[in-house]
């Protein structure tokens, strides 16, 4: 941000919001990361901890809302300050949802314990999760550095997530076709994959919010949309051949 405000305490309040967003980001990321570990290592103790920690994000979101509303009421912020404050409210909602995704993934650990597969079975899900989390890291970093260039770069990567989601979807479907005994675990994993794909969407939302904070307008072009799972069918040939 440019020069300091004449009223210094205003800067402190804005710094507080930015710091809180960074904390929420870190916490949400950590939850997702560990929810995936819990799945891969079949660690229901870890999963329970992730589920219990979701409340931290709920509270942080409420805290940000309250502080932001207070600043609006007391300081009547204008221009970039107003955009920053409204942007903070939006970003905290996206981060809270990312935490929920982590919680949802962690909740499936208990149901999957009975039907545990070897670690290699989860390899692609893990890779997919790291891709989505990298997206989140980049967007939070770009926000902290107030870098428009990096924000726009993040949006470009959204299609990678969609492409990987589609391929993971196909892969899981093919396992189910080949070994019906895999259906339960694969269905759970499909939901996990969907949750991870949503994390990518929330990261993109945050990127758009940061773009708005920095420029005063939302990015013009439609975000790239390559999630093609809606057209992946059960027919074996199509699962493997479509869009190859």
């Amino acid at each position: 941000m440019s020069a300091q405000h004449i009223v210094r305490s205003f800067d402190k309040e804005l710094d507080y919001l930015a710091k809180k967003i960074a904390e929420m980001g870190k916490h949400a990321r950590h939850m997702v990361e560990r929810s995936i570990s819990a799945i891969v290592q079949d660690d229901s103790f870890l999963a329970d901890r992730v589920i219990a920690e979701d409340i931290v994000l709920d509270e942080a979101e409420r805290d940000i809302d309250e502080k932001a509303i207070l600043i609006i009421a007391l300081r009547q912020p204008m221009a970039v300050d107003l955009r920053e404050i409204v942007g903070t409210i939006r970003m905290s909602a996206d981060l809270e949802r990312i935490g929920d995704m982590g919680k949802n993934i962690a909740k499936r650990v208990a149901a999957m314990t009975e039907i545990r597969q070897s670690a290699s079975f989860y390899k692609n899900l893990e890779a997919f999760a790291s891709l989505a989390l990298r997206q989140l890291d980049e967007v939070l970093d770009a926000y902290a550095k107030q870098s428009l260039e990096r924000i726009d770069a993040v949006r470009e990567h959204d299609d990678e997530i969609d492409a990987m989601y589609t391929s993971l979807f196909r892969e899981l479907l093919s396992y189910m076709v080949e070994y019906p005994s895999n259906i339960t675990v694969c269905t759970h994993l499909l939901f996990c994959a969907k949750n991870i794909e949503r994390i990518g969407d929330h990261a993109t939302n945050i990127a758009e919010t940061v773009h708005y904070i920095l420029t005063g307008y939302y990015p013009l072009s439609e975000r790239p949309k390559d999630d093609q799972t809606y057209e992946v069918g059960l027919d074996k040939k199509r699962i493997f051949q479509k869009n190859v």
Partner: protein, 256 residues
């Protein structure tokens, strides 16, 4: 910008000198008809000076010299053949501190129409007074005491009386120089409501130190600094995403 908007007044390279001191450095700015234009900027930026150029109030200041042109419709108001008294009836003014004449409420409003010969009979004059007080949102509060002293009203009522007085001579443009800075929030809200109402029939230019007021009442905002025009645009743009850093710094409280 909306093509239906027409330009009511236009300053063209307006420079003002107070003796050797230059207060305005060539302002070119259009005032759009039936809109409220807010002039904002830190103290000493030239916004009030520019406002006073619009009805030649600077003529009354010793040592003040104005160059450039100010057009009202297509007419240059600094043309030597122009009747300044007539100009000020077309471009009225409301000041920071309410300044009713030490006369009755009725006389305060009737004074202008009378000297400009706008009423042919007492009945017509009564009508102008009532209409002006109604438009200024004051009539219902004071209709039973039209002949009491104008100076006996509350501050907010006095300011609305001054607006009624300005309206009484059927101006086309009303200039307001911080019209609410001496008023409490309720009186301020009444004046702001009134400004919004008045713009249907008049073109309004307002100088204000309150960013929130500028944002609330105006459709266009001009940002001044050190005697120059920094930025002019739709009010919603200026207050959400101004183009100029100095505008941004000023409205967000980062100046200096």
């Amino acid at each position: 910008m909306n093509p239906e908007l027409s330009i009511k007044m236009r300053g063209l390279d307006v420079k003002v000198f107070y003796d050797s001191n230059q207060a305005l450095h060539g302002i070119t700015l259009s005032i759009l008809e039936n809109n409220v234009t807010a002039l904002i900027g830190p103290s000493g930026c030239g916004k009030s000076t520019f406002l006073r150029c619009l009805n030649r109030m600077n003529d009354t200041i010793e040592g003040a010299r104005v160059t450039g042109h100010v057009f009202l419709d297509e007419e240059d108001i600094y043309d030597s053949s122009l009747d300044v008294v007539e100009l000020r009836s077309r471009v009225g003014m409301v000041f920071q501190k309410p300044n009713p004449f030490p006369k009755s409420i009725y006389e305060n409003v009737a004074y202008g129409p009378r000297i400009h010969g706008l009423a042919r009979s007492r009945l017509e004059l009564d009508e102008i007074v009532e209409k002006s007080l109604l438009k200024a949102g004051l009539f219902n509060e004071i209709k039973d005491r039209l002949h009491d002293a104008g100076t006996g009203l509350s501050g907010g009522q006095q300011q609305r009386l001054c607006i009624a007085r300005a309206i009484a001579v059927s101006p086309e443009v009303i200039l307001m120089d911080e019209p609410c800075s001496a008023l409490d929030p309720i009186a301020t809200a009444r004046i702001e409501e009134l400004i919004d109402d008045l713009r249907k029939n008049y073109t309004i230019v307002i100088v204000t130190h309150s960013m929130q007021q500028a944002a609330r009442v105006s459709q266009f905002t001009a940002m001044f600094h050190l005697g120059t025009l920094i930025e002019f645009g739709a009010t919603e743009t200026i207050f959400t995403s101004p183009k100029e850093q100095r505008t941004q710094d000023y409205i967000t409280g980062r100046f200096g």
